[in-house]
Amino acid sequence: MLLPQRRTFDVLVIGSGASGGWVAKEVAERGLSVLMLEAGPPRIPTRDFTEHIWPYQLKFRGFGDQKRLLENQPVQRLCYACDDYSHQFFVNDLENPYTFPADKPFMWIRGRQVGGKTFCWARESYRYTDNEFKAASRDGYGEDWPISYKEMEPYYDRVESYIGVSGSREGLEQMPDGQFLPPMKLSCGALEAKKVIERKFGWKVIPDRVANLTVAHRGRPACHYCDQCQRGCFTASYFNSPSVTLPAAARTGKFTLVSDAVVSHLLMGPNGRAEGVHYIDRTTREGREAYARSVVVAAGALESTRILLNSKSPSYPQGVGNSNGVLGHYLMDHFTIEGAGGSMPGLRSSQREAVGRPCGFLVPKYVNTSSKRDRNSNFVRGYRFDGDGSQELYGHAFLLPEFGDRWRERVRQEIPYYFGIEAQGECLPRAENYVKLDPDKKDAWGIPALHINASYGENDKAMAKAMTAHINAILDEMKLADPTPPKPELSVFGKNIHECGTARMGDKPEKSVVDRNCKVHDARNVFVTDGAVFVTQGCYEPTLTIMAISMRAGEHIAEEFRRGEV
């Protein structure tokens, strides 16, 4: 789509995912004109969704074309969701390179399309509390967020009410209840874990809180439990921006979406104001400009920081938002301790269970919360567990000896039940975990690639030891058959796709990049609203908080317009 010559929009939003969708909706519904630029193409459900496709309908039967994945998506293929059915929702790594020191591997999973990664996110939606927002005041490490749970609570309420989050009400101080739709059921394996863990450790075991609808909600039907969310959803029964926030913005008549628009840098005018952006047409490689009174960078934490770093000009020699050198630093991603599990002989069966529940169980964070019972002074912050139990489909066939009709009958009748559990820990924000522009490498559109330098610190490693010990204790109590202990190493940095930080929020301009309203300290009309602004990330998934922050920022931007400050 070509824009009219020199039209100046009220707000220009870069990125159409969880964050950009919310900002666009909020400002458009308040009467502002919005231009959204998205680097990737639109996804057409009837063409691009593979919901309910069977393995026998695919050339590689669900196992994927390994040659193509290795050649075109050598990074993305490592993501569990980038498979034969869903690889189209992930970038081509050759077109979208990045670098890292060879001894500090970083796994950067990216989805560039209208909707960003919201097509294939895991939908887990947990509130942060002052355990996260004010963590520094509690344990002395790092910086507090400039905002509190009390300030964020109404935004969490509104986001949950709008998108639909299923969950159980538990009354936990460290993980507050929200505006929930009815919870999903637990599996039999999870119920067994609930009995054991609640009795032995005194920790609650609850269904995941997920942005899947358990009842019809605001014009969207309930989930039909096919458990193929990462393939797209024809009924829009989980939150993704193309079916929830972006249509709301579009229905205002104030919203213009330009896809295939790869933003290179901000166009900075005099007096510290952005006039718009320079972007490159993804398909023709032509350079173009778009103009607005206010610019919101919501391209995903690392993409947003990359755009700011690349926005160099005489007034901003180190990039926009980087007058203090903080931009790019304090990168975080959750680390996980994985691979633990075993069989549950008591649940072995000859009866096949229905499958399709798009969630498992969660054990909230207990270690180093306000309770004295689970304090561990070997590290600050804490972790949570998640897992599930399920029947094998045919994995046991590889282990059963013999062959022929009798063997197939055993495969059908002797269905093992497997239980798995992992722990996810809070990664501390450290200045030495940073991103910068690579001096040599450029992407397919000539934009400098990122160089990412990140590794886990001593606190993270100490926490991982405690996580491992707890998982082993749970495995022992569960009395699993053939238990597999967790892998000794922490997950690869970036693997959990919760990358946050690099443009952190703060009241002190010398220590942060954006203020409490997500406005860049050193530019008058530039906002960053995605995970880049996180100061800490707790041990819970960041997307719900990203949405709440984005809604709040959108409201603030609209208020600035109303007051004539833009």
Binding site: D48, K67, E71, V114, T235, R352, E353, R357
Partner: protein, 259 residues
């Protein structure tokens, strides 16, 4: 009390949804009731910018029924859908005689299965052998940083396995070894043996050391036969697989206390 416009819309569309789905489900032959709310029209979709969408009952039912009927891949899709094989099927990797041997081995392994499932399974095995060379070459040419990342993710042994996997060599050495064993034991190549003799050869090879070329070939065929068969419609039906379906309520445990 004020009416919530969204609740009202849900009630209105619930009726539309039921009516529409009832019709389409019957036409499509999909079993199960789909009693959910919210159906917005195709016109509303058309009014949105490309890439935005509203819930669609028609698209859901079309997808639910696609596994039961001839399926035409959507134009422009990036998904690698299966194409109908040429008739008669021409193997890409195996020679016609080798392919007959593979087919016979799969018959022995899987027993009495549907001919279509057998054909799908053997064609999958041929494709897997055929594509392995390209995958290995791609693995050997990974960018050093991508290789370092893969090692961090999978471990070095797994990455090396990918770089050295050579099913062609396994086949090249394995098939002659099968025939040699058949000749030694019964005086004929494998395909010329009687069914009980062939089964005896397979049993005998299954007990050989794992480094033996006959055994390696057997294990390669067995692994891909399992993956090929249990991803076929007949294999999934035999497993009584109850996923990839429309469930009107959340599957879960009915024999315990949920909260």
């Amino acid at each position: 009390m004020a009416l919530d416009p969204f609740d009202l819309r849900d009630e209105v569309t619930r009726r539309q949804w039921l009516l529409r789905l009832g019709e389409i489900v019957m036409l499509a032959g999909v079993s199960g009731l789909i009693p959910e709310s919210a159906l917005l029209s195709a016109q509303e979709n058309a009014a949105l910018p490309p890439g935005l969408y509203v819930p669609s009952a028609g698209d859901l039912v079309h997808a639910l029924s696609s596994g039961h009927h001839a399926f035409t891949p959507p134009a422009g899709s990036e998904t690698d859908y299966a194409q109908p094989p040429a008739s008669p099927f021409q193997p890409q990797f195996f020679s016609p005689e080798e392919f007959r041997l593979v087919t016979r081995v799969v018959e022995i392994m899987l027993g009495n299965i549907d001919p279509d499932a057998l054909a799908q399974t053997t064609q999958w095995i041929d494709l897997w052998f055929h594509s392995a060379d390209g995958a290995r070459t791609a693995a050997q040419h990974l960018d050093p940083l991508h290789r370092a990342l893969a090692i961090a993710y999978f471990g070095e042994a797994t990455v090396r396995d990918l770089e050295t996997a050579d099913p062609a060599a396994i086949s090249r050495e394995g098939i002659p070894a099968w025939n040699k064993l058949s000749l030694e034991k019964y005086g004929h190549s494998f395909l010329d043996l009687s069914a009980p003799q062939q089964e005896e050869i397979v049993r005998s090879i299954a007990t050989q050391p794992s480094a033996n070329s006959s055994r390696k070939f057997l294990e390669a065929i067995r692994g891909e036969a399992i993956r090929g068969y249990y991803t076929s419609a007949q294999g999934l039906k035999e497993l009584e697989y109850k996923g990839n379906a429309y469930h009107p309520s959340c599957p879960g445990c009915d024999s315990g206390q949920q909260s």
